[in-house]
Amino acid sequence: MSAAAPGRASAALALGLAAVALSVALSCALGPQPISIGAALSGLEPDRSILLGLRLPRALLGAVVGCALAASGTALQALLRNPLAEPFVLGVSGGAALGGTVVLLAAAAVARLSGAAGALLASAPPVVLGAVAGATGSTALVFALGRIGGRLVPEAALLVGIVFNAFAAGVITILKVLVPPEQAARLLYWLMGALGYETAGTLAAGAVLVGASVGALVLLSGQLNLLSLGDEEAASLGVHVGRARGAVFLAASTATGAAVALSGMVGFVGLIVPHLVRRLAGPDHRLLVPASALFGAAFLVLADAAARLAFLPLGSEPPVGALTAFAGGPFFLWLLRRTERRG
């Protein structure tokens, strides 16, 4: 780090925190229903319920999910040494969705035998666990099959991820046939990536899980710097490559799994945010990981507010995942062309 780095670091992090606060405030202030913040804070109904019961929890959910996705995206880009890596593109989200879906289906099957046991299995913790397991499995798959002749080839790993995504989508479509139509419609909407109204308990549990895994990524960020140089270089600099990579895998998969369990497949956040933050904060992962986490949180909260407001005249709102994909798809292609030119 250069001498100016500590100043730059604190400036970037302060800016990130301010962005989160601002986006949450904006998301709380804007919605289909005009409310008065003053009235809400002085306890007047329905303003108070709309502000504190609906908008604030949803903004916090968006912040948790955005933080998880952007931090995992940053970590996966370092591991793969490719700016195109991202939980959604790499199939990690797809794996998480598949894992969560399988648990939900098992719950529906168990519910036929015992309603209570089924309800227990369909509650948040087992679904999150299934999503994390699915995310970890697909990450392992992508990085194992992305090796050619013992060397990790980023393009191959990306292809594996994209193919795995299609595979997971197909399997989920097949599984959907097995559930009642009401659940199938819900499953579909969930998979599209929507921020909804989770219970406080689910939100808190998700926040703890994301906090822990993103915290772990921040702690591992020094090793990420070395890993992004390549395995041999990292090893020669004293990094236990296998162990460090395993830890990053697990933390990134856990964060993605929790995010998918909370809000389905919101894509490209882990692509757009780290890329923009890199311009602000530079390539050092010790700064890049926490700054991406913060800006990711702000980004998704804003994207969700936009989703809520953009289609207001139609009396409907698209899932935020549709919006991030709308922005992220072209961004991915632009990034791909740029990388090619440089490469």
């Binding site: 609906l54 519910a111 009401e182 909407y189 709102e317």
Partner: protein, 291 residues
């Protein structure tokens, strides 16, 4: 695909990964429940989250108490009312802003997280699972009681019951018609056993040829051809009439034994069942004289 029809594949709903419901009893079997606090004895500001429940409130003569309905509501009595979203994606914000003292919710939708949140914020919600004809009668009684006029609920339920009795008596004298009820054509979605229109069909003198244990199956066209129904009921009322020609592989379609329903009343489990039974009866027994 039609807005209210079951597949609802493109319909939006709040995300709810962490929940799968056990099969739930219908309103007639005691499956209705209160979420959130109980309403006042005679609620004045009612939001309906399903067109069939709107119809019920209107049929009870209490349409003036409605302050919000879904975007699918088309009853003339609620034409000017604010819309609070759809059947599967009610906007909690819009509901709360109307300061309702009673929300009526048809549980057969994916809106649970949003409705749960509305109830948690102190709005009384009456959750009404409606899967079969008896549930519609139970609903009339429950909604009447919730509005503080149990007697009106009872009257409505009895008048619906009487209409059902009339239809089944008329149909009893006539031969049963083997029928395939088409809800959507591409893909072919039919009213399966256990669905609400299936129950109406059997009251009106039809025998549903759709098999299986799914109420709204995406049905293999081959099976529909093999079943060789006497009549194809075209309930895809929002799609052009001539589109039924896609199903020309079915003999009844080729032979012109197709009856198009004039509206989607048969898909709305509420007071419209009176008109729906009439329409179905006419479609199934065109030769029979009117009542």
């Amino acid at each position: 695909m039609r807005p209210l029809s079951l597949a609802l594949a493109l319909a939006l709903l709040a995300a709810a990964p962490a929940r799968a419901e056990a099969p739930r009893a219908g309103a007639a079997a005691g499956g209705a429940e209160w979420l959130g606090p109980r309403p006042p004895a005679s609620p004045r500001r009612v939001v309906s989250l399903a067109p069939s429940l709107t119809d019920t409130v209107v049929a009870l003569g209490e349409g003036a108490r409605l302050v919000g309905v879904t975007r699918y509501d088309d009853a003339p009595e609620v034409k000017g009312l604010p819309r609070v979203g759809g059947f599967l994606d009610p906007s909690p914000e819009a509901v709360l802003a109307l300061r309702p003292d009673l929300v009526l919710w048809l549980t057969d939708g994916g809106a649970f997280p949003a409705v749960r949140r509305i109830a948690a914020l102190g709005i009384p919600v009456l959750a009404l699972p409606v899967v079969d004809v008896p549930d519609v009668l139970a609903c009339a009684r429950l909604v009447g009681a919730a509005l503080g006029d149990a007697a009106a609920g009872e009257r409505l339920a009895r008048s619906l019951e009487a209409a059902i009795g009339r239809a089944s008596r008329r149909a009893a004298a006539l031969p049963r018609v083997r029928v395939l009820m088409v809800i959507g054509r591409e893909p072919l979605v039919v009213a399966g056993p256990g669905s609400y229109p299936d129950a109406l069909l059997s009251i009106a003198g039809g025998a549903n040829v759709a098999e299986g244990d799914r109420p709204w199956p995406v049905y293999p066209v081959e099976k529909a051809v093999a079943a060789n129904p006497d009549l194809v009921l075209d309930a895809a009322v929002n799609e052009p009439v001539e589109g039924i020609a896609r199903l020309a592989a079915i003999l009844a379609v080729r032979a012109g034994r197709v009856a198009r329903l004039p509206n989607d009343d048969a898909l709305r489990p509420g007071p419209r069942l009176v008109r729906a039974l009439d329409d179905l009866f006419r479609a199934l027994h065109p030769e029979a004289k009117g009542p």
